[in-house]
């Protein structure tokens, strides 16, 4: 048994020239690999940086608006209105009847002449009503309010526009100032780029995401648990596994067609609603959750299951007391990835009609709504140059949303991660 | 149950055991030789040969110490089980017993110078036969150990009876002679001791045989009455030399 074959092998020359060459080749291979890795990272980071810089460069101006001062002599034009009228429950009603639009228009005319109307944004008067609600005392005195200018002036001031507009800019140069465009964050879609906001789309995205999560998460997780822990290993299970894997690769627009055919035409659900959007996106996200869920469950070591079975835990207890808690970080990560993908989907939602002009944010899942990516798409189609910066600004908001979601994913995963 | 002859997976264990067997065979051979030489010295009153036997007993003692050491080491390092363990325990005890056999041979040799005139004593003629049988017992018991032969061991056990019978005869004859020839009492006493030594050698051979039986079968050897029976009244011996 122990007869070793005596080979006529010379002792190995580890210091010889051959070996040195091998060492040199090996080191240079390692270096090359490292270099390739680093350049891949640098390239990807470069693309990302490029995107961010371009977006931020274009979009940050969407958060600012050009303003001009306007003097309004409230006591004169409202014939003695008092602050108390605009406090309490009757404030809105009183605002409606005071004819603020005409007040502002006439004040503009007084100060800037007939032409003055073109200087200011058509929705500028709404800013005044917001100011009154904030600070009712203002109606008892002469006040100088800063109102947003019209779109052409805004563009001309920021980056250059038509010759006429630029001339106006030169004319009023010392009165123009830049302020933060809070409206962008609280308004919904509008025809005037100075008045658009992302809140409507944002809320629509939020509601759609919630619907998607409510549907895709439980179904996906339970399916993953069943397939991994209970399902017998036969042809049928293989078929299901293959189908789910393929489903995850199906182009999203197909899901849009599915939603159109099934939810809208067959079931007759309300078009443009977050419900249908959420359902469609849930169909799309569920395979991703199942796949990542299965992987997470597979990675739970069998020793944990054996330990639990050995102590007399039933299969259900093994799954829910031991496997699921350990697989949860992986499942959550997969879920957030799926949700982030769903957040950025445009094509399927366009197909089911979430592309309407939504001027008010949705208040329920059946109200017509739109989502951020669709809003971005619609704005990018607009002719008015003022929408360019707004589109980029909306993209920045979307990226921030995604960033927050990912941060949430990492936080949740770290919190639930138990070491074993 | 005989060893299947299969080797241990750890070859060093086998070589340890073989070394021990060799040493046991050697100490056995030396002791047998010592008996033979001592008896020859006695027959021929060869004082030089007797002195040689006494000297060479030291070798036997050293060999026994080495066997003990190696056995001890093997038990500690190899964690022997079953028949290996039995063999090693047997080796331990057998080497001690054989060393004592050597001591008896030395004792016989020491008495050679003191028994110069015993040719006249008739019982002395029985001693060579007795020693031959005792010697054979020693040889056979060690053969049985080498071959793990439980049957041979039992036979050795039985044949010791012959040595015992020899002793009984010699005892009676020498006592008679001592009564009839009181001036020979000194030498006759030595003769008795020599006979006694041979009888003890026979007994020790049966000790070896018992160990061999245990090593081979794992069971203790069935009992046999042994030993001389010195309390048997010697009928025809008158008291105090009176008629």
């Amino acid at each position: 048994m122990n007869d070793l074959i005596e080979t006529r092998r010379l002792p190995t020359d580890w210091q010889g020239a051959e070996m040195q060459k091998r060492i040199a080749r090996r080191y240079s291979a390692e270096r090359r690999f490292k270099a390739m890795g680093i350049s891949a990272i640098v390239l990807s980071a470069g693309f990302l940086a490029f995107l961010l810089i371009v977006m931020v460069g274009n979009g940050f101006r969407g958060f600012t608006q050009t303003e001009m001062p306007l003097q309004i002599d409230f006591p004169a034009v409202t014939s003695g209105a008092s602050a108390s009228q605009f406090e309490g429950p009757n404030a809105d009603a009183n605002l409606q009847v005071m004819g603020l639009r005409e007040i502002v228009a006439s004040s503009i005319e007084i100060q800037y002449g007939e032409d003055g109307a073109n200087l200011f944004s058509s929705g500028a008067w709404t800013a005044v009503s917001a100011m009154i609600l904030d600070n009712p005392d203002i109606v008892e005195r002469k006040a100088t309010v800063y109102l947003p200018v019209s779109s052409e002036i805004d563009i001309a001031y920021k980056s250059g526009g038509t010759p006429a507009a630029e001339q106006k800019v030169r004319q009023y140069k010392d009165r123009l100032s830049t302020g933060f465009n809070w409206n962008f964050l609280s308004n919904s879609d509008a025809t005037d780029p100075m008045q658009v906001g992302i809140w409507g789309a944002f809320k629509g995205s939020l509601i759609t995401m919630i619907v998607t999560l409510m549907l895709a998460f439980p179904v996906g997780v339970l399916a993953a648990l069943y397939l991994e822990e209970y399902a017998p290993k036969n042809r049928l299970t293989d078929l299901i596994e293959v189908s789910i894997n393929n489903l995850a690769a199906v182009p999203s627009i197909i899901f849009g067609l599915l939603g159109l055919a099934v939810f809208l035409n067959f079931f007759g659900m309300p078009r443009s609603g977050a419900l249908v959007g959420g359902l469609t996106l849930a169909l799309m996200t569920m395979p991703v959750i199942v796949i990542s869920g299965r992987n997470a469950v597979k990675s739970v070591p069998p020793s944990i299951r054996e330990a639990a079975l050995g102590i007399g835990a039933s299969p259900l207890q093994v799954v829910f007391h031991h496997v699921l808690p350990l697989a949860l970080p992986g499942i959550l990560t997969g879920t957030i990835i799926g949700m982030a993908r769903a957040l950025g989907e445009t094509a399927p939602l366009l197909m089911i009609g979430m592309r309407a002009f939504i001027a008010t944010p949705p208040s329920g899942i059946t109200d017509p709504a739109t989502v951020l990516p669709v809003q971005i798409f619609l704005w990018s189609d607009e002719v008015d140059r003022g929408f360019v910066e707004k589109t980029s600004a909306a993209i920045i908001i979307l990226l921030l949303f995604l960033l927050i979601m990912n941060a949430l994913a990492i936080y949740l995963r770290n919190r639930f991660e138990t070491r074993w | 149950m005989v060893n299947s002859g299969t080797e241990h997976t750890v070859k060093a264990f086998d070589s340890d055991i073989n070394e021990l067997r060799g040493m046991v065979a050697e100490i056995g051979g030396r002791s047998e030789q010592a008996i033979a030489k001592a008896m020859r010295a006695l027959e021929n009153s060869d004082l030089e040969l007797a002195a040689e036997v006494v000297r060479e007993d030291k070798l036997i003692d050293d060999l026994e110490k080495r066997i003990d050491e190696l056995t001890f080491q093997t038990i500690a390092l190899r964690a022997p089980m079953a028949d290996d363990l039995r063999e090693l325990i047997a080796t331990f005890k057998i080497s001690g017993v054989v060393e004592r056999i050597g001591d008896y041979a030395k004792n016989i040799a020491k008495r050679v110078p003191l028994v110069t005139h015993t040719h006249r004593l008739r019982p002395i003629s029985l001693l060579p036969s007795m020693s031959k049988i005792a010697s054979e017992l020693v040889r056979d018991s060690l053969d049985a150990f080498a071959r793990r032969d439980a049957e041979l061991a039992m036979e050795v056990n039985r044949r010791d009876q012959i040595v015992d019978d020899f002793y009984n005869s010699i005892f009676r004859a020498v006592i008679t002679h001592m009564i009839e020839n009181p001036k020979d009492i000194g030498e006759a006493a030595h003769l008795l001791f020599i006979a006694k030594n041979l009888e003890r050698i026979g007994d020790h051979a049966t000790n070896v045989a018992e160990m061999v039986y245990f090593a081979a079968t794992g069971e203790p050897m069935p009992e046999r009455t042994r030993g001389e029976n010195p309390t048997t009244p010697i009928d025809n011996v008158p008291k105090n030399g009176a008629d």
Binding site: I304, G310, I311, T418 | M81
Partner: protein, 265 residues
């Protein structure tokens, strides 16, 4: 092949806790256990020894039906716990596994606190009616396992933060907590250093008599130290079963002798 070695069946100490008769185990077409019959008593520790792949672990896992988790495994024959056939359809596997506990080769505490590790079993089987009773069970189990002194001040620490030997004792305490009748140990000390091993062996000695213990080990010296009865398995057959002293000083079968003296052909 040879007939099953049913020697040692008539026990000298009352009725056996678990009995197996003519058990065969198949993995698909391959037969892993061949006509094994054996008794396990309350007052002795029984050791299963044998070379790798001889089926000792497979047979052990039959005794608490852990082989059920392997789809291609098929068990025939009769295994009884206190006279009840454990493979009968009316035997609840979950309760069986509480009555016949198992300790595995690699310590596998749950990734929970030490307290929860022990308390989990009693909780799911409803063995405690309140926090106080549960605390008592946890304390007594840890004491029986010889771990109480070392962990009583840090019951909320994670079970996986203990050393290997402590983890294994934790697993033993966990098995004890559900009040088993039999404890099966599958090479419990293979992954441990000699000191931890000695502590576990001492623990086994203390547990003897309270639980029927079966230990699978590939370390013959451990089997000799720890058990009163030893069963030698070879290629799925039970070759010899008897008192540990006899097996190790004067085994009857040649295969047994060859194995324990280190003579593999």
């Amino acid at each position: 092949m040879t007939d099953s070695a049913t020697t040692g069946m008539t026990t000298d100490s009352g009725t056996p806790k678990m009995t197996a008769r003519h058990v065969d185990v198949f993995y698909g077409d391959k037969q892993a256990i061949n006509d094994v019959s054996i008794d396990v008593n309350m007052d002795s520790v029984t050791a299963f020894i044998g070379p790798s792949g001889c089926g000792k672990s497979t047979f052990l896992r039959c005794m608490n039906r852990m082989n059920d988790t392997i789809p291609i495994a098929r068990v025939t024959g009769e295994i009884k716990l206190e006279g009840e056939d454990i493979y009968a359809s009316k035997m609840d596997v979950v309760q069986l596994r509480a009555r016949v506990g198992m300790v595995f080769q690699k310590p596998n505490p749950f990734p929970k606190s030490i307290y929860d590790n022990i308390a989990y079993g009693p909780r799911i089987h409803g063995l405690a009616t309140g926090k106080e009773e549960l605390d008592e069970i946890v304390e007594s189990s840890l004491q029986r396992a010889g771990l109480w002194g070392e962990v009583k001040d840090r019951l909320q620490d994670s079970g996986t933060a203990l050393s290997g030997g402590q983890q294994q004792r934790l697993c033993i305490a966990r098995a004890i907590a559900v009040d088993p009748e039999v404890i099966l140990m599958d090479e419990p000390c293979s992954a441990l250093d000699p000191i931890a091993t000695a502590k576990i062996e001492e623990l086994i000695h203390e547990l003897r008599g309270k639980y029927a213990i079966v230990i699978v080990t590939h370390n013959m010296q451990q089997a000799a130290r720890v058990s009163q009865k030893t069963a030698f398995f070879h290629l799925g057959t039970l070759v010899e079963y008897g008192e540990t002293t006899d097996i190790f000083t004067n085994p009857r079968e040649e295969k047994t002798r060859d194995y324990i003296t280190g003579r593999y052909g």
